[in-house]
């Protein structure tokens, strides 16, 4: 069946917009209905000493005394103009604060994602090649073990060993004071967080590749290839791998938010100045404007990656039809 690309992509875009809108309303309401005083993040400890009238005035100044739906409409209007308000904590434009930090996160999660993507592919193929022989068994055992270790604890142990005991690597931050433009210094700071980000997700996807490949090798066409005299390498790389790549790519597209989510936690452990530490702070101190933008950014990324995953699924691999169970379930339920 031939689909009109305009209708197809238009539909996708519409789903995207509606999801983003629903998300923004949900985040806005939840964050504002929850207990906690945003004045704390604006004025800090001074709030305790403020009189009732002063608090009222401060609320009015920040526009916190209106009903929530009015606040939401105002936020939406300003956001359309590109004004996301100021961060209560940093007293700066939200976009400025985020802009100064997003680079760090993009480097960490971007490279981490690439390494995970390629590493998982390599490991998965290795395991499938040596199915049930010792390299496969060792990797499977090790991988299961690794996936049981909570991210933050692995970070702690690595910091303890490599930073505190051996003094090989720095334990926190993105660069030392005065070394802002020193690439080597930055790389040194990146190694430990990067190792955690990659290790955390590597096995999960490697195992998926392994199982998908093994499933493929049971198919009949492998037998045909074998009887034609193709080598193991030719069959595995030329046929099996080709068959699983589209679904792998779409799964990896969906996994982007998960890798990013992992980075958030790693960032807080390593006090790495990125989006992760920022969202942690903003949620903790009820820095509404900041929280809103960060949630929207993350949420849009989630929705976008899901759509990309779906489109790849539906376009590249015609065997998968739109209404069949989405691969997303496989990613998250295993």
């Amino acid at each position: 069946m031939k689909r009109n690309p305009f209708v197809y992509y238009g539909k996708k875009a519409l789903i995207f917009l509606v999801s983003v809108f629903v998300l923004s309303v949900a985040v806005f309401y939840i964050s504002r209905l929850a207990p906690g005083d945003p004045l704390m993040s604006y004025y800090g400890e001074r709030v305790e000493k403020m009189s009732v009238e002063e608090k009222e005035a401060a609320r009015e100044k920040l526009g916190l005394d209106d009903p929530i739906h009015i606040q939401y409409v105002r936020w939406l209007e300003n956001a359309a103009k590109g004004d996301f308000g100021i961060s209560y904590k940093y007293k700066q434009d939200v976009t400025e604060v985020i802009g100064s930090r997003i680079g760090n996160t993009l480097i960490l999660s971007g490279i981490g994602f690439l390494l995970t993507f390629l590493g998982a592919l390599g490991l998965g193929i290795l395991c499938a090649w040596y199915e049930d022989k010792w390299p496969d068994r060792i990797l499977c055992k090790g991988g299961t073990f690794l996936s049981c270790i909570p991210e933050f604890w692995l970070s702690l142990v690595l910091i303890l060993v490599f930073a505190v005991m051996l003094h090989w690597l720095p334990s926190s931050g993105a660069y030392d004071v005065g070394h802002k433009n020193d690439i080597l210094n930055r790389i040194e700071h990146l190694i430990l967080p990067m190792v955690i980000v990659v290790l955390q997700h590597l096995w999960y996807y490697a195992y998926m590749i392994r199982n998908k490949l093994l499933e493929e090798t049971r198919a009949d066409y492998v037998l045909l290839g074998k009887s034609k005299g193709l080598s193991k390498k030719q069959i595995l790389f030329g046929h099996c791998l080709r068959n699983i790549l589209p679904s792998y790519i779409s799964i990896m597209a969906i996994s982007v938010p998960h890798v990013l989510g992992g980075t958030y936690i790693v960032e807080t452990v390593f006090s790495y100045p990125g989006i992760g530490t920022l969202s942690y702070e903003s949620a903790r101190y009820h820095d509404y404007n900041m929280l809103m933008v960060l949630c929207m950014m993350t949420g849009i990324l989630v929705i976008f990656c899901n759509l990309i995953g779906q489109i790849i699924n539906e376009r590249i691999d015609p065997r998968i039809r739109a209404n069949e169970t989405n691969e997303a379930s496989e990613v998250t339920s295993g």
């Binding site: 207990p35 299961t144 073990f145 996936s147 933050f152 005991m165 949620a283 993350t298």
Partner: protein
């Protein structure tokens, strides 16, 4: 005399061998994991017997002491005995794990069955929602909710973890229910006026329980992991409520003083517990799958 010798000398052929034995189910049963898990859970249950000190007591004379004969696992930066804390805190970690799983499984069972029985349009809508839910990293969602809710205790933390981790189970239940919802016994029960919860408990649940068992175990694991991560980040249980996670929240200070025992000992227990649960979960998954393929 061996069979071969018998054959060459007397011409006795070996009896046709007995039909292949059924693969021994108990062979790949994760004994070590079950026993370890049992020991840890029992020790935590009877923490009072094992504890040598009051786990909450701040012994300021002996803070940050390395493991020795009096403080078997050392003391933390506040002077609390880690050995006692492990057992006492483990109780809370495990409680949260089970409570959160109970909540998420309950939500999943109801949501999944409703979606499975519901007409197609409602089913699609509900499954869309779970898909969106699944695509958001769970831990981030928990962090976000807990940060907004503020101060946590065992109950709120279990609820937050519970309401964020039901989606994958619900999906499996829905698929199973879809398959059996038109079977005769379900229809018969409906005709005789069986209510939704009656059908669910009597006819649906026994059918899908095997296929969600491993996910439930994995959920316990996930909940314990989330609790420790949250408490470590200072957004879960406060320091006074001792759990493995909140014990680890002193880790930053411990790093500065190179007190490895504060980090490694609670963490080892945590990882061991998670590892046992994973092994048991994997065993259950294999078992469930084996059944499926035999049918």
């Amino acid at each position: 005399m061996t069979e071969k010798e018998l054959f060459t000398q007397v011409g006795i052929r070996p009896e046709p061998s007995a039909p292949a034995k059924k693969p021994n189910r108990l062979a790949d049963f994760p004994w070590i994991s079950v026993i370890l898990l049992g020991i840890i859970v029992l020790c935590c249950l009877f923490a009072e017997v094992l504890m040598t000190k009051d786990p909450g007591y701040l012994d300021l004379k002996n803070y940050n002491v390395a493991p020795n004969s009096e403080f078997l696992f050392g003391t933390d930066t506040l002077g609390r005995d880690i050995f006692s804390g492990i057992w006492y805190g483990g109780r809370i970690s495990i409680t949260i794990g089970f409570l959160a799983t109970l909540i998420s499984t309950a939500i999943a069972v109801v949501y999944g069955s409703v979606s499975g029985i519901a007409p197609a349009w409602l089913d699609t809508l509900m499954m869309r929602f779970t898909e969106i839910f699944l695509s958001v990293p769970g831990l981030l969602l928990v962090l976000f909710l807990q940060a907004i809710l503020g101060e946590a205790n065992v109950i709120t933390l279990s609820i937050v973890i519970g309401v964020t981790s039901w989606a994958s189970i619900a999906k499996v239940i829905r698929t199973e229910v879809r398959q059996i919802r038109n079977s005769e016994y379900v229809v018969a029960s409906k005709c005789m006026g069986g209510r939704f919860f009656h059908i669910l408990g009597r006819h649906l649940a026994p059918n899908f329980i095997a296929s969600i068992m491993f996910m439930v175990v994995m959920n316990v694991r996930g909940a314990i992991g989330s609790e420790s991560t949250l408490s470590f980040m200072g957004m879960g249980l406060p320091l006074e409520i001792i759990s493995w996670g909140s014990m680890l929240s002193l880790a930053e200070k411990a790093l500065m003083t190179e007190s490895w025992w504060i980090i490694l000992i609670p963490g080892t227990f945590l990882v061991t517990l998670l590892m046992c649960l994973t092994n048991i979960g994997n065993y259950l998954r294999k078992k469930a799958n084996r059944k499926e393929s035999n049918l």
